[in-house]
Symmetry: C2
Subunit: 113 residues, 2 copies
């Protein structure tokens, strides 16, 4: 991930509805959720949601597949991983005291450990 990719992903997430959708999909898991269900869950219009999902997809943060009449969206865990890695890259430049809290949160964020 380079700087441009990161800006793209951050821009995609820097939006109330899109962040909500993304976090919903992260929570839902790799099986994903149909666009219509997402719209109902978040209370957004179908076309607006579609545009927002398209932005997230463009940033690689979600993927989609058709299943019958529905289109299923799922979180792009690998991209999320890459973004987090990029954001933490070079942190604290070797200064352990500062980095410690970040390491801590990283550990704590490992929700399934």
């Amino acid at each position: 991930m380079d700087s441009q990719d990161a800006v793209g992903a951050l821009s995609a997430l820097a939006h109330e509805s899109r962040l909500e959708v993304f976090r919903l999909l992260v929570k839902v898991g790799p099986d994903g959720m149909a666009a219509g269900d997402i719209a109902r869950a978040t209370g957004s219009l179908a076309n607006t949601l579609s545009a927002n999902l398209n932005v997230l997809a463009g940033a690689g943060l979600v993927s989609s597949r058709r299943e019958g009449r529905s289109i299923i969206y799922a979180a792009g865990y690998e991209r999320m991983r890459a973004l987090l890695a990029f954001l933490m890259e070079d942190c604290c430049s070797g200064n352990a005291e500062i980095c410690a809290p970040l390491a801590l949160i990283a550990e704590r964020a490992a929700c399934c450990a």
Copy 2:
């Protein structure tokens, strides 16, 4: 950190120059760097940089203090920590296989461990 805070922080970072500045400050460490030095390091105009630093400060991602004629900016590590925590919150909803790579990167990102 609530959703609005997260959107604010993500918006602040979703900008090529601001992301560069933030990462520079993260690298520099808690002692920070004078606005003028940041401008020189990133090749931005003083007033544009000032506006961008203001956005970052508004999101809590940097703090500032005056030192003589200079104003020193430093990364807000705690806010960064909170943002990363928010982004990883509820991830994978208990599904260890999916979360594992995230835990891995989190560990790897703990640069000073």
